[in-house]
């Protein structure tokens, strides 16, 4: 239990530093730390498969993509004055957390139901196979969409020049 408290506290600390850091690269690295601690916490909660996926995707792939995006877009420090006034932001945040607590706390105090014997792999690949298909479709659409967004337009002059060279002989 103390290990779980320590790991979850480290997760919260890393998330806070990721939000507060002024440099983008530092923020991305704190986010990677947050993801790694979260993966450890999920594994300690009894879901090591989800922890492994979170560690490899959340702490690995997403960090690499963040570093790539920051190196392409450039480091830029934007002023701290926000569009939304801070009291409004605090009020909305408190309201959201209260609503979440109203949803979650009855589940906390209710007696635990008997565990079903559905194995995780069967749940992922058989019971929720629609989710898996949707995930594959989502990955492909994400890759194609980001390729389309990051592609640079070929200049019209170079195309016509090449076509002209091909046609000349």
């Amino acid at each position: 239990m103390w290990i779980q408290i320590l790991v979850l506290g480290s997760t919260l600390l890393c998330a806070l530093m990721a939000i507060r850091a002024s440099r983008l690269l530092v923020s991305a690295l704190w986010l990677a730390g947050c993801s790694a601690f979260l993966a450890l916490s999920i594994a300690l909660l009894g879901a090591p498969e989800v922890g492994v996926v979170e560690l490899s995707v959340g702490a690995g792939l997403v960090t690499v993509i963040f570093v790539f995006a920051i190196s392409v877009a450039g480091e830029e420090t934007v002023g701290v004055q926000s569009v939304v006034p801070r009291p409004v932001a605090w009020t909305l945040m408190a309201l959201f957390v209260l609503l979440l607590a109203w949803l979650c706390v009855p589940g906390l105090v209710a007696p635990a139901l008997p565990r079903d014997a559905l194995p995780f792999l069967r749940a992922l690949w058989v019971e929720r196979s629609l989710d898996t298909v949707l995930q594959v479709a989502m990955i492909f659409s994400g890759v194609l969409g980001s390729l389309g967004l990051l592609a640079e337009r070929r200049e019209a002059g170079s195309v016509s020049r090449k076509a002209g060279e091909g046609a000349a002989p």
Binding site: A47, F96, A112, D116, E127
Partner: protein, 103 residues
């Protein structure tokens, strides 16, 4: 009050979600907004696993958590590609500068 492991997990979930939402409302840098969205999604992943375990159906909660991880990663990739294109188009990542609605 009986403090069990799920109470601690809930406190962590509230903290992650609150920080992510506050960041989404306050931050003006487009890439930092994606960082805040990631923090928000990490709270969601944690609550999926915890809700599955608390309701006696851990396998369903875990498979939904994996779905959330994949969807969140795709959203992050698309948002970062959009941020790069916005930076190329307008020369800045500041949401206040690129907003043209008020003119």
């Amino acid at each position: 009050m009986n403090v069990n492991i799920w109470t601690i997990v809930m406190v962590a979930v509230f903290g992650l979600v609150a920080m992510g939402l506050y960041g989404l409302l306050i931050i003006r840098n487009l890439i930092k907004i994606v960082v805040a969205l990631q923090v928000f999604a990490k709270g969601t992943i944690l609550i999926m696993v915890a809700a599955g375990a608390m309701s006696g159906k851990p396998a369903v909660g875990q498979s939904l958590a994996i779905t959330v991880i994949v969807a969140d990663t795709v959203v992050t990739v698309m948002a970062l590609a959009l941020a790069i294109q916005v930076r190329r188009w307008s020369g800045t990542l500041d949401t206040r500068v690129i907003s043209r609605l008020r003119r």
